[in-house]
Every structure is written in structure tokens, then in C-alpha cells.
Amino acid sequence: MDLAVTQAEDAFRAEARAWLAAHVPPEPLPSLETAEGFAAHRAWEAELAADRWSAVNWPTEYGGRDCGLIRWLVFEEEYWAADAPGRVNQNGISLLAPTLLDHGTPEQCARVLPPMAAGETVWAQAWSEPEAGSDLASLRSRAVRAAGGWRLSGQKTWSSRAAFADRAFGLFRTDPDAPKAHQGLSYLMFDLRAPGVTVRPIGRLDGKPAFAELFLDEVFVPDEDLIGEPGAGWRIAMSTAANERGLTLRSPGRFLAAADRLRTLWQERGSPPQTRSRVADAVIGARAYQLFTYAAASRFLAGERLGPESSLNKVFWSELDIALHETALDLLGEEGERADTDWAERYVFSLAGPIYAGTNEIQRDIVAERLLGLPKGRR
């Protein structure tokens, strides 16, 4: 059992650190939830991609470095420690890309992944519907067979980044007669600017259009944009969901960097003893999350499959994130009320953590039933 990285991994860390030191913009970019900020972040993705830093764990043929899980973790630690910009294409890179690499065709990977890596195509997630949130399998949007493809109709909501993004991916009902709700669903990619798509941005708590409603009226999708077999959408989506809650959506690097910023803020404010416990808990929580992730990565690399433990993960990081940012705002005192700071932006983002990617209530049910073996029952 050891925590030491190899010489090669250390060299990789040094290379990443040097590149980031030379390229991270000295001033923070405007919020990526604004039109101006979205454009600036897209340009940043292009800059990352030019030196193949935008998706380091992907195969090299699609613009990655094929660098493996440990180096990905190392890269993420360096990335967030360097206070580099948030990733505008995160939905694509951490959710759709692993899905395509596992379930897509080589043609789909070659067509979709390189422009994703370069920030040319920014992806939105189109999963939730007005009547299908935690109960995702009850979704009603449908895809009907058409010559050479499918026609999508229905309504999606809470689509992150859809206000400014180019394309989206999601589940659609292709067999309304399937015996169970989660059967007869298919996984499709579509163009947010195709005829028949209406995007209505929704302001989140701070008013920024961080997500949107999508109204789909007979939107044509060619066969080549179906992922996997028709009817296999649920199974494919669940493997994406495990990714989302598990290793790749929230890397320890983000929380280590945030906890470090919090500790610095606390020290700058004179290390007030009454907040010491909360700052310490954030620092300890980030370290716990890092080591938990190392353990999971080690098991994964030893050939174990990671299962419902991603639910432990999701509850932990989402609650850590909120506690950490609440502590920061409290330390800032009256400055903490200002909406135009990085702390405020990150705080508002953290508040969504227990809701998206499967609410924490659903995750606790999964932990209780699948990890502790408690009986299923009334909700």
C-alpha cells in the first residue's frame, strides 16, 4: 500500500504544472454562465486542446494523451491548484465522452470527440423532463422512426449549459409499448440549432442562464447519432450516471484547491478561532475525498468494477462543497453577500450539488438498499 507516484507520473505533473503556469489567464475569465464568458471559456478549451490538455485521459487518436487514471488525477490536482478556468465542456468531456468510448462506434468517436476536445462543439445534457427528475425512467419525450433516422418530440428541462451550447445528448422513448418504463428508451445526440428545437434559458438562483428548457418538435436526428442499440438507452445512461456521480465529474483536485483557498482566506482574516473547526473540516474532507478516490482508482486499476459506491461519493462531495463555500462566505462577513465574486459564483454552483446527478435522497436510498442491504420500502 503506497501513495507515492512513479517518476513518470511526477514528470507528467511537472509538465502539466509548467504548461498551466505559462497559460492560465492571470485574471479570472467572466462567468461561463454568460454569453461573454461562454465564448471566453470556449477559447480557453481551444488553447488547452492545442497542446492536448483538454482531455488527457482520452485515446491520443481523439486528442487525448491516453494517460490513465492516476495521471488524470494528477492533472486535475495541478489544474485546479493553478486556479485554471472552469470547464465549459464538462458535460461532454465527463459524461458523453466516456459513454461514447464505451458504447459508441469508432465512427462516432472520431466524429464527435475531437471537436469536443477543441471546444468547437460544446455539449448540453438533456435528461430531466418536467415529470421525470429523480424518477428519470418515467420520461415521455419520444423518438419516432423516420427515413434514415428519428424524429424527436417532447420537452426537456434543467439542461445544463443549453443556453449557449451547440449540441445535446439524452434519453428518448422509442418503444412506448415496452413492458417496463426503463425499457424502450434510446440514447440520442441532437443539434440544439436543428429545425424544431426551441431553447428557453432559465436563470438559476443568481439569475445567470446556467440551464434551459428544450422544446422539441419533430426534430430530425440521423441514425448515426443513436448511441448503442435502440432500447438500450437506460443501461447506457446508467453507466454514464455512475461516471457522473463517481470518479470523473468531481475530481478531488477541485476540492483540494477550494479547501486550500479557504484555508488561505481564513489565515488572511487572522485565523479566527471560532471558524477553525469548519475550516479544518473542509481541509480534512478534501483530503478524505482525495484518498477515497485514490483507493477507488487503485481498485479500478486492479480490475474491480466500481458500483453503487459512487453514491457515497456523490453525497460526500456535494455536502463538502456547500459546507466549504458557506464557511468562506461567513468568513467574508458583509463582503460575503456580494454576488460578483468568485466565492459567490462557486457558492451558488455548490448549492445545486445535492440536487443534480441524482438527488442525495436517491443516493442515500441506493447506499441503504444496495450497500447496506436494507429492505426496499415506501419512500
Binding site: D2, A4, V283, R287, A288, F292, Y294, A302, E361, A368
Partner: protein
């Protein structure tokens, strides 16, 4: 990097678990609480045979150490089975006695289980100070072999017996490695607390699966499930901190492990008590053996506040 136990380490933990499962520890714990030490001594000797106390003793003094990862694994099992006695203190003593003379005299007996040690700052309570064969006192002028102990005081955990050490006694070292020994004390306490929390969770999950109310197992109610899920989450995130601290042995990592394992165990104890209802509030039901230990370990070898300060390096 391979942050994963190897087969030998897993087998070591499994064999301790099997041995302690077969040993009827609740009976030994209750006897120990009454001051009857025969069964506890016998258990101690079997743990020593398995190598537990040799892990902090250097090979030069007939030990196997230092092996903090194996020690942490062992203490998780000791906590899971609520083994009584000055376990942490014996390990801490082994890390504290480094002068060749005293080490040669005291450590081989600790490693092989012939003697039990207790350690305390002068004026503080020493665990099982009335019973230990070696009583080490951390005095202002160095490490001393205490000449005796004051009256025994009850602990909130009936299996822990507290007594202050008498001042004076033979001076063993002027500059003992107190900081290093404290790392071992905290690591072992953290691991023990983690084990206590795991046992509380396991017993409570079993109980709510059997106990029915309103015609359904209590464990099928979401309010119950979510409390247990939170306990599992807290314990699962304390575990890598404990093992990570054993790997690095830095003061900040060890303090983080201590605070997080003890808080997780204590929160689990509260949950276990609540979900057992009144039966959990009784001394006759075995759950109490773990409930009270979770409370006692929380402040042993560093309060949550002290450990949080050390985790921040502030």
C-alpha cells in the same frame, strides 16, 4: 501508487476478525469492567501471538515494526470487537521507549504480550493504570516509570478504567520521542474508533432488518435508511484517512484521521442508539459496549478541537 491493501494485509485482518469473533469478546469485556482480568489477559496473549503488539516494536527488540499500516488494520479489528485493555497505550509505550537500556528491558515483553503498558501525561488519567505492568509517565523532565497509581475512577465506558499515575519514579529518558509516540497513539485510536463505528453500523443494520413496526421492518422506512446511509458515508470516508495516515505518518494526516474516525464513530453511535430505541439505552444489551467506547475514544489522545488544529497545521 497503489492505495490498496495487499493479500497478506487482508489475510492478517481477516484472521484477527475470525479469532475475535470466536472469542466471545462481550463476556471478556463485561468481566474486565468488573475488574476480572483472566479472560481479557488470555485474549491479550492471543493477540500478541498474532503479532499485534510487535508491530510498533523495532526488530532489534524482538518486534516486527515499525508497521503502521498493519497496526491500523489490527486496531480496526480490535475496535470492531471492542477488545478491552490498554491496547493503544501499549503500542504508544513501544514507540516511546527508545533509549537502548530501557528498550532492551521493556520492549520484548510488550511485543510478546507478557506485559501490558499504560502511558499518560503526569497528572492525567492513565487507562488501566491499576492493572498495567509498565506505567509510563510523561513528566516535564522526561519519561518516567511511575511508582504507582492513585484511586481508580470509572469511565463513561465501563471497560475503561482510569487512574492517575503517581509522580516520580525512574527516569527512562530525558527527551523521549513524544511527538512520534503521539502519532502512534492517535493512529491506533483512530483505527479503533473506525472499528467501533463499523460494528455499531453492522449491528444496527441487522437490528432494523428484523425489528418490525406498522407491519414492516423498521429498516424499510426512508428516515431510518437515510440515517444509516449517512453513517456509512462518514465511516467510508474516515477509512482512507486512517490508512493514508498510516502510510504517511505526518501529524496533519494522523490528526485528520483521528478527528474524522472518532466523529464518524460517535455519529454512528448516536444513530445506533436512536434506531435501537430503548433497548439500546440499556447496559444489559451488548450494543452498549460499543456505544460507550465511541464516546470515550473521541477525547482519548486528543480532543476533536486539538486534532482539528493539528490537521490544519495551526
Amino acid at each position: 501508487m497503489r492505495f490498496l491493501l495487499d493479500a497478506e494485509q487482508r489475510a492478517f485482518a481477516d484472521s484477527l476478525d475470525a479469532m475475535l469473533t470466536a472469542a466471545d469478546t462481550p463476556k471478556a469485556i463485561r468481566e474486565w469492567s468488573r475488574g476480572e482480568h483472566t479472560s481479557g489477559r488470555a485474549l491479550w496473549s492471543r493477540l500478541a501471538d498474532a503479532g499485534v503488539f510487535a508491530l510498533a516494536v523495532p526488530e532489534a527488540y524482538e518486534g516486527l515494526g515499525p508497521r503502521p499500516v498493519e497496526l491500523a488494520l489490527a486496531f480496526v479489528e480490535l475496535g470492531r470487537h471492542a477488545v478491552p485493555g490498554p491496547l493503544v497505550e501499549t503500542v504508544t509505550a513501544a514507540a516511546l521507549v527508545r533509549e537502548p537500556g530501557p528498550a532492551k528491558r521493556l520492549l520484548p515483553a510488550l511485543a510478546c504480550g507478557e506485559s501490558m503498558a499504560t502511558v499518560a501525561y503526569e497528572g492525567s488519567y492513565a487507562l488501566d493504570g491499576d492493572l498495567a505492568d509498565v506505567r509510563l509517565s510523561l513528566a516535564p523532565d522526561g519519561l518516567r516509570l511511575a511508582p504507582g497509581h492513585e484511586a481508580t475512577r470509572p469511565s463513561l465506558d465501563p471497560a475503561r478504567r482510569l487512574a492517575r499515575l503517581r509522580p516520580g519514579g525512574e527516569l527512562l529518558a530525558v527527551r523521549p520521542p513524544v511527538r512520534e509516540a503521539l502519532l502512534w497513539a492517535r493512529l491506533a485510536t483512530a483505527a479503533q474508533a473506525l472499528g467501533v463505528g463499523l460494528a455499531l453500523l453492522e449491528r444496527t443494520v441487522a437490528y432494523v432488518g428484523q425489528r418490525t413496526q406498522f407491519g414492516a421492518p423498521v429498516g424499510s422506512f426512508q428516515a431510518v435508511k437515510h440515517r444509516l446511509a449517512d453513517a456509512r458515508i462518514a465511516l467510508e470516508f474516515a477509512r482512507p484517512l486512517v490508512l493514508g495516515a498510516a502510510v504517511t505518518m505526518t501529524p496533519a494526516d494522523v490528526a485528520a484521521a483521528k478527528v474524522s474516525a472518532c466523529e464518524a464513530a460517535y455519529a454512528t453511535a448516536r444513530t445506533a442508539l436512536q434506531l435501537h430505541g430503548a433497548i439500546g439505552y440499556t447496559a444489559e444489551y451488548d450494543l452498549s459496549l460499543w456505544l460507550t467506547k465511541a464516546r470515550a475514544l473521541r477525547t482519548a489522545w486528543g480532543t476533536p478541537d486539538e486534532c482539528r488544529a493539528d490537521a490544519l497545521g495551526a
